[in-house]
């Protein structure tokens, strides 16, 4: 459906361009160049090491000048208490081997590097949320395997999720499986990756806006020709920052330079900079058919 709307919209844009093409003139212009910013890519999950990648943004005139930032100083804080500086590993990657993140703790970083403004960011890891298998069946007409799952959503807090299905074949090779989902919860908020008529998608981002605090049952479908020995459902609990970052990233990518909408700025929780420093946790559910 989205495709049909897109076709109509594309044609509308093409018609307008055609109509005005005879009038318009196009000239190159020079815009003021913005100074580079520190771009943070840092994702943390319980009991893993803190790892942060730093790069610089660039203006449009020097597009090949996106570089890893070396020799920066990254201070880590654990609920406001200094927790050491991160070690540079090369290629813009910094790591803190000693500190293992935990759920619910507010972690902050302060990054300083020569030639840049100091940037700060903070986030927490949300608790993982269990998902259980209810049943599965096969639809002979569509040749799809329907998998019925139940999310046990905690009450009183807004939860942000990503669903990923990994299948392991008879050779022991794991791969991400595309799936269909038509559940209303995946349409309940604008910006989810699984949109209207979401078929054959590798992941689905959604929130608990319509099932907060409930045991919520939903169905996904995968093609039955996958010779899957074992299926692992990953229900990833995202922090709000991470959810917004992914949502806006995907949206900017989808829209391109569409003249039919306002530009989408990719969400960032990095003050004076760009990128994201965010936590997530994972609940794994394994089963076989």
């Amino acid at each position: 459906m989205k495709t049909s709307a897109g076709i109509l919209q594309g044609m509308l844009a093409a018609m307008c361009m055609w109509l005005f093409a005879s009038c318009e003139t196009v000239t190159d212009i020079d815009l003021p160049a913005a100074g580079p910013l520190i771009v943070v890519s840092g994702f943390f999950t319980p009991d893993s090491a803190f790892s942060i990648s730093l790069s610089s943004s660039t203006d449009y005139k020097n597009i090949d000048d996106i570089r890893a930032i070396e020799n920066a100083r990254i201070e880590l804080l654990d609920d406001g208490t200094p927790a050491g500086t991160m070690t540079y590993l090369g290629n813009g990657v910094y790591r803190s081997e000693n500190k293992k993140p935990k759920v619910g703790i507010l972690y902050s970083i302060s990054v300083s590097a020569q030639g840049f403004h100091t940037v700060n960011a903070e986030d927490k890891i949300p608790a993982s949320v269990p998902v259980s298998l209810v049943s599965f069946d096969t639809n002979r007409t569509t040749e799809k395997i329907n998998i019925y799952l139940m999310v046990h959503d905690p009450a009183g807090i807004k939860n942000y999720y990503e669903l990923v299905i990994v299948g392991k074949n008879s050779h022991g090779i794991s791969s991400i499986m595309n799936f269909d989902v038509n559940d209303p919860s995946f349409n309940a908020e604008e910006g989810k990756a699984a949109g209207f008529g979401a078929d054959n998608i590798p992941f689905a981002d959604f929130t608990d806006v319509i099932f907060d605090g409930k045991n919520y049952k939903f169905r996904i479908s995968i093609d039955s020709y996958y010779k899957t020995e074992e299926v692992t459902v990953y229900l990833i609990s995202l922090s709000q920052n991470l959810y917004e970052f992914r949502r806006t990233y995907q949206k900017q990518k989808d829209l391109g330079d569409s003249p039919f909408s306002e530009p989408v700025r990719i969400h960032s929780n990095v003050t004076n900079g760009a990128g994201i420093f965010a936590g997530f946790s994972v609940y794994k559910l394994k089963f076989t058919f």
Binding site: M15, E24, T27, D28, I29, P36, S57, G191, S261
Partner: protein, 771 residues
Amino acid sequence: MNSKLRVILCVLLVFSTQLINAQESRYTLSGYVEDSASGERLIGATIYAVNHQKGTVTNSYGFFSITLPPDSLLIIISYVGYKSRQMHVELNEDRLLEIHMDPAEYQMQPFEVSGSRMERIEARTQMSEINLPVSAIQTLPSILGETDILKIVQLLPGVKTGSEAMSGFYVRGGNPEQNLILLDEAPVYNVSHLFGFFSVFNSDAVKNVNLIKGGFPARYGSRLSSVLDINLKEGNMKEFHGVASVGLISSRITAEGPLFRNKTSYIISGRRTYFDLLAKPFMKNDEYAGYYFYDLNMKVNHIFSLSDRIYGSFYLGRDVLYVRENTYDNFHFDLDWGNITSTLRWNHIFSSKLFSNLTSIYTDYSFQVKSNTDQYTGDKYYAKYFSGIRDFGIKADLDYSPSPSHYIRFGGNFVYHLFTPDALQLKINSLEQIDTLISPSQKIHAREYAVYLEDDFEISTRVKSNLGVRASGFSVPGKYYHSVQPRITIRYLFSDDWALKGSFATMTQYIHLLSANRIGLPNDLWVPSTKRVVPQKSLQYAAGLSHTMGEYDLSIEAYYKKMDKIIEYQEGAAFMLRSSSWEDNVETGSGKSYGVELMIQRRTGRLNGWIGYTLSKTVKLFPNLNGGREFPAKYDRRHDLAIAAVYRVNESLDLSGDWVWGTGNAITIPEGYFMVNTGSINPLSYRLLQSDKMKLYSSRNGYRMDSYHRLDVSLRYTAGRNIWTFSVYNVYNRRNPFFIYFDEDFANNKITVKKVSLFPIVPSISYSYIF
């Protein structure tokens, strides 16, 4: 006690006290003022009783009423573009008159009537109001020779155009949907032809244009920012006349005359573009495309007696864009949009003091895109997207003038709205037979009510006020909203030709427009207030000075307007890209606008026109946009200057020109690029967030395009019944920015910024024949 209720009770108390006083021995002089040649009734003509230094003006139907003590009156009647008249009237009983005015000669001199002050800017209570001379509309230059009312409105202070040559206008920081645009009292929801380059109003059929930007009288409501009241001509009551015009892009014809002399008249006016007809010979027979628009205005009125008259008005307009590829896939594409409006009005004079108008209104705006194609496999696809709004309304307006100190208006209206915010229909005739109406939002039925009361109250010879209150309600399924909106305007005449004016007005708007905000296409969606999306509200304070300097009117006004509960699309949301209800895709926020407007206008003489300058700032604040920080409105423009002039060289030749200059539009552009890179910290995320170069945007509307300026000139030559008009749009070929885009060539690591300009210098010619 509720404070609003107190205000209303005070107003009513003042009314009743004054009405009792009005019962002294007085008589009422009332009637109509009309053009002697055509019988066309004149709106805003001044009737001034010299002996009593009291006066009044005609209303929208050319009716006036003034109550005075018995006397032998010297009455002066004046109207711009007409010779002033003096009459002696023995007012020893109620009198009902028909006053005929003769058009002025071309050497028209400024008003010679020293006794009449009513037409002077400082004499009027109303502020923030501009009456647009129809002669200027027809004479000032416009693009491709197509005279356009809204293009002229955009030259007024406080009014800003959107993008290059667009018809939509922004008044004191308000969006276009906050303008109540009335065509013979019917609201027009989309005023654009040709994607906004022309307005739907055919200037040949228009009699009067009045714009109110603030200090709104209580009789107007349902929009936050302005009222543009357009009245069509009534049709010549005396004899048949017409005009036929041929231009570069369109032709139009207008005919008017009596059906029964001095009793019934009609006017009919139509126009159509012919891009499509001219281009067709250059296209293949089986592959062609075209665009055209047309509109038709019709009006009939009948005079039953001096006390009763009915008017029927009808407008139909449509834009159509089509593509036909009758080849292997039989591809058809159609885009069309348009309005239908009609009103039926009955004027009735109950007494010399009480005039009434009863109106029934129908208005319909719709927009649709259709596409169908046949695949070589035999599959057929059909998709249709449509959106619209339809209103049925009835309203009653009464004018009551109990004494020279009061002119009371009261009335009410009811509107039944039918919204179809959007719907997508899809038919696929293939292996999977699909015929479905995918409608994220169903039809919404809503009802809107309003009652109002206002009094133009002359408190003393120097102080005059318009006090009013409007109460309105709106019901949609599951929700009822209501609002009480006090309105106050006060004028203090502190010398013979200087007046200080101030106003306060609150407004409530129950309908919204979802606009993609970047270009002026007709895909904007009209939606109602609902349980989740509440009505928009505004309050506006304005203060100003008005002064007449000989032949010039001077006005300086400062205003502050606050808007609340305004809506915008979420970032990235747009029509047809939504997967859920429109309510899920909007953000609610607030806005404020403040500024100073200066206008110097000369309305008479060989050289007339105006200079308008606006210094203003408009910002918006949405919790979920721009990181919750305030940002400039898209059409926030710090400086805006417009000069418009018409010079009548002689009876045959008119020269005119306009020059505009304004601060560049605010837009959101990428400030740079950055790499979205998650590295390999999580294999599940790796394929989602790959290493992509993504745009790093400035804050919303954080960049200013180049300033906009342009000069247009026009020459109009009249020889008998023939009129030739030569116009040049953008005389010095200024490449004004229309939009900016980034041309990305990542393969060669090269990005260039492109500025797209629309219209270079555009000369045009048109010819009209008057019959």
